[in-house]
């Protein structure tokens, strides 16, 4: 099967999956969840006002019609307006995506590259002092809650040392850079521990393979063996681990966004949950599901690129 028909077939799978996602959203928000008008109308709401608002929001229509509304918005990406801010939801998402991505993409890229390099390096010295120290260091990094890095980093590096902005965000290049440096560094530190441990394990599985011994016997340098042979063969699990995280980068880093006052999608989603802004929650759920599906297709396609033995069926 060629790559195009594989991708097309996988894309067709999106339809039943999205219908299922819509059904789950429908059950959660239109059947299980309580009446959103109670929250939307505030502390002095009257029954008459609630009935009027339910009518305006289409919540008095039949359940089937409400389900169809969700399906329609999922397939047209027309999510309407937020019940709370009255803004167009796609505009809100666009506005939130930019700050989220300016933080997460550089931090994620740098963190992943650093983790791969360190893992390759320590795999050369498996069982040695350096390897043990790095593993110990990773466990130590993972043992500290991420909130501690944020609180300490913000207090020490931004406030005491005055090296970074304490919090905030400015739209537009290059104005956002001062605001994403510290949260970006913290992201890298938080991700290093689990990433190095995972990549190290994956790479170690490869370095004891016969082909590595053969390559070394041929007299190839350590660098060539590591970067050309080992890394290439370790790429499949690495790609799976890395690519599948990408759609979640758009969702931002909730805790970092919150502490550094970065107006990203994480905060928008949390705010929507706290104010019963169902259309925004629905939009974020649908988009996350679509993102997850698309990137899992991309992962499959990338397998064939890094390993010609893989055939798409």
């Amino acid at each position: 099967m060629n790559i195009y028909s594989y991708v097309l077939r996988r894309l067709l799978y999106v339809i039943p999956i999205l219908l299922g996602v819509c059904f789950l959203i429908f059950i959660l928000f239109n059947v299980v969840a309580g009446d959103p008008t109670l929250v939307l109308l505030g502390k002095h709401a009257t029954l008459e006002q609630m009935a009027e608002l339910r009518h305006q929001l289409g919540l008095d229509r039949s359940l089937f019609m409400q389900y169809l509304d969700i399906v329609k918005s999922a397939f047209t990406f027309d999510f309407g307006r937020s019940w709370v801010t009255k803004q167009d939801i796609l505009y809100m998402i666009k506005e939130g995506t930019i700050p989220s991505l300016t933080l997460t993409i550089p931090a994620f890229t740098l963190g992943t590259i650093l983790a791969i390099i360190i893992s390759l390096f320590v795999s050369l010295y498996r069982g040695g002092k350096l390897d043990k120290s790095i593993v110990f260091f990773c466990i130590a990094l993972m043992s500290i809650p991420s909130l501690a890095y944020i609180l300490f980093g913000q207090w020490f590096f931004a406030y005491k040392m005055d090296m970074f902005e304490i919090s905030g965000y400015e739209f537009g290049f290059p104005y956002f850079i001062p605001y994403i440096l510290l949260p970006g560094i913290i992201w890298v530190i938080i991700s290093l521990g689990p990433d190095i441990r995972f990549f190290r394990t994956v790479i170690l599985d490869e370095v004891y393979q016969d082909y590595v011994r053969t390559a070394k016997a041929k007299g190839l340098s350590e660098n060539v063996v590591l970067f050309k042979h080992v890394l290439k063969n370790a790429m499949i699990p690495i790609i799976t681990y890395v690519v599948i995280q990408i759609p979640f980068l758009v969702l931002g880093a909730l805790l970092l966004e919150s502490f550094f006052s970065i107006p990203g999608l994480g905060g928008i989603t949390l705010n929507a949950i706290n104010s019963s802004d169902f259309p925004v929650i629905k939009a974020m759920t649908v988009l996350s599901a679509v993102g997850y599906i698309l990137f899992s297709i991309l992962t499959d396609v990338l397998y064939t690129v890094v390993d010609p033995r893989v055939r798409l069926k």
Binding site: H44, Q49, P174, S261, I262
Partner: protein
């Protein structure tokens, strides 16, 4: 090898990143008076009819004006004319209020107006504003304030047509307007000072449609420049703002604080206001300590670094010349019983539970002792509050509580079902719920705490689910009626009375007080009602909180107060002092 090259290029880019880090927009504000204002919540929008919390009310007040306002420096809170030239003339029957509108007041320049130039505010704008408040399609959160009060408005609401005349909303001429009420309503003037009733121009509401919430156009001292509800809101001084001057009179406490130094000067003082949204307390606190925001309500966890046990500023704060402002909030926090359940019809049970919770300890643990243990529903500063009154059921006494519980028919808690206690899911609320649970379990009760997201808690209360819940109530206006409303039977869920307490004796007193003008008789009745409620214990009264705010010395005229929504107009900054202090102390 390629990887190595890429990495080398990345390292070469690092100095460029650091250089880029020097690009800030701070230089833009040089020479300007800028107010750096922190908020802890995301602002939903800036539309008067949606401003149902303190935060939205404050943002609305920067852009919009009402007919009336509270005098900035008089206490108790005193109403005065704002867009109205003065207080209204009231007809002999107390039903018709006639206002003279200030001439020459213009809306902000905006593309919704002809030639994008703001037109003059006229009496018809007031008529439109109140009709919009009543229009069911607009979902006004302020409708409750005038529901059933203005003649003909409730009928109009059934089939809204803005071309129709309404008896109770009369445009007499361009600058004269009158309201006619169905029956005397002493709190009506307060309604006119609430953000819900601030005046909006019809053409702009229609031009922006649903987006009007994000494109405010008013007559206020500031115009909106940038609006991002989760980042920052920037306002610029309204260059066409009418002649409005800083007050020349003040309450004694404010005279002593030197708040009349700017008396008679034209308002507003700031060229720009930057509202920074910071949900977490640490960045707010660090930015304050760094001099980047001008004031802050002291976060709970930073109390000990700011105040000594004698409630004085610590040396570190004094060294930075930081100033302390303390003002009781007009609110009450309480744990409500669901009176729909026969269990809580038992007065002795309610009294026992109230007596078993230690208010002083609660205050010390969660508010560093700054709040006041509530003896009943009315907070200090309002008619009906009695400073000396001690509610016998709010004096912690475990033995007496046990005795009362036995008299209620549940010795050592035997025979009682497991009681659920609902609250929000914030860390503070969780800890407070645990405290209440531990207190009540000492009586032998079995308590299950349930943490809910705010919408879920609201749902439970409005649908009369649950057994007990913790909540707080802030005054809508400086009148005890605002607090009695939350225990008034006809206001039961989904109304404001979430406890569903329905006591004919109390209801009768509320009804009687509702048509009484402010007078010694009404104050006496309020006091009686407050004591009656203390004895009945329809809810466990917890605290009246206090605003504890610190500000930098360069900020002048700052007043803490629940109704000072528009304070940013009166606040000033000494820019030279700010430069000096930032250089020397920060």
């Amino acid at each position: 090898m390629h990887l190595k090259k890429t990495l080398k290029s990345l390292f070469k880019l690092l100095p460029l990143l650091w250089l880029a880090a020097c690009f800030t927009k701070e230089g833009e504000d040089k020479g300007m008076k800028v107010f750096h204002y922190p908020v802890a919540v995301k602002i939903k929008g800036i539309d008067p009819i949606q401003a149902d919390d303190l935060y939205s009310g404050t943002e609305v007040s920067r852009v919009y004006d009402g007919l009336l306002e509270y005098h900035y420096l008089k206490r108790p809170f005193t109403l005065q004319g704002n867009l109205a030239q003065d207080l209204p003339t009231v007809s002999d029957d107390g039903l018709t209020y006639t206002f003279k509108i200030r001439p020459g007041v213009h809306f902000h320049d905006n593309k919704c107006f002809k030639n994008s130039i703001g037109r003059e505010l006229v009496a018809d704008d007031i008529r439109y504003t109140f009709m919009r408040n009543a229009d069911p399609k607009e979902n006004s959160k302020g409708w409750w304030m005038i529901d059933g009060k203005i003649k003909g408005l409730d009928d109009w609401r059934k089939n809204p047509d803005y071309s129709q005349d309404i008896e109770g909303l009369k445009v007499i001429d361009e600058h004269t307007f009158s309201f006619t009420l169905n029956e005397p309503f002493p709190q009506f003037l307060y309604a006119l000072a609430m953000p819900f009733s601030f005046i909006v121009p019809r053409e702009c509401v229609e031009h922006y449609g649903q987006e009007f919430l994000n494109h405010p156009v008013g007559t206020g001292p500031y115009t909106l420049d940038t609006f991002n509800q989760s980042n920052k809101i920037v306002y610029q001084r309204n260059k066409k703002f009418r002649d409005k001057f800083y007050p020349t009179e003040a309450a004694e406490e404010f005279v002593k604080r030197g708040l009349l130094k700017d008396a008679g000067k034209k308002l507003p003082f700031f060229d720009k206001i930057v509202v920074e949204v910071m949900v977490e307390s640490q960045p707010r606190w660090l930015k304050f300590q760094d001099g980047k925001i001008d004031f802050i309500a002291i976060p709970k966890d930073n109390f000990s670094s700011v105040l000594t046990s004698e409630m004085e500023l610590t040396d570190e704060m004094k060294q930075k010349e930081i100033e302390l402002l303390i003002e009781p909030s007009q609110d009450v926090s309480y744990t409500a019983f669901n009176h729909d359940l026969p269990l809580f019809q038992n007065k002795k049970l309610r009294q026992a539970l109230a007596m078993a919770t230690n208010g002083d300890e609660y205050n010390k643990l969660f508010f560093n002792g700054t709040a006041l243990v509530a003896q009943s529903i009315v907070p200090p500063g309002l008619a009906g509050y009695d400073e000396k009154f001690q509610n016998p059921y709010r004096q912690y006494n475990l033995e007496k509580a046990k005795k009362l519980l036995a008299e209620a028919g549940y010795p050592e808690g035997k025979g009682l079902p497991e009681i659920t206690l609902d609250g929000t899911n914030s860390t503070d609320a969780r800890q407070m719920a645990e405290f209440t649970k531990m207190s009540l379990e000492k009586l032998g009760l079995k308590i299950k705490t349930i943490q809910n997201p705010w919408p879920e808690l609201q749902n439970k209360i409005k649908l009369r689910k649950g057994m007990m819940h913790s909540i707080a109530w802030l005054a809508d206006y400086p009148d005890a009626e605002s607090f009695f409303a939350i225990l008034y039977g006809p206001n039961g869920s989904p109304g404001a009375n979430g406890s569903n307490y329905n006591d004919p004796v109390f209801n009768k007193m509320v009804k009687e007080a509702s048509t009484m003008q402010d007078s010694p008789e009404r104050t006496a009745l309020y006091t009686k009602m407050n004591r009656y409620i203390a004895e009945e214990v329809p809810v466990i009264f917890e605290l009246h909180r206090t605003s504890v705010v610190v500000q930098h010395a360069w900020i002048k005229n700052f007043v803490v107060g629940d109704f000072a929504h528009d304070r940013s107009m009166y606040i000033n900054v000494d820019t030279k002092q700010k430069e000096r202090l930032l250089e020397e102390k920060f």
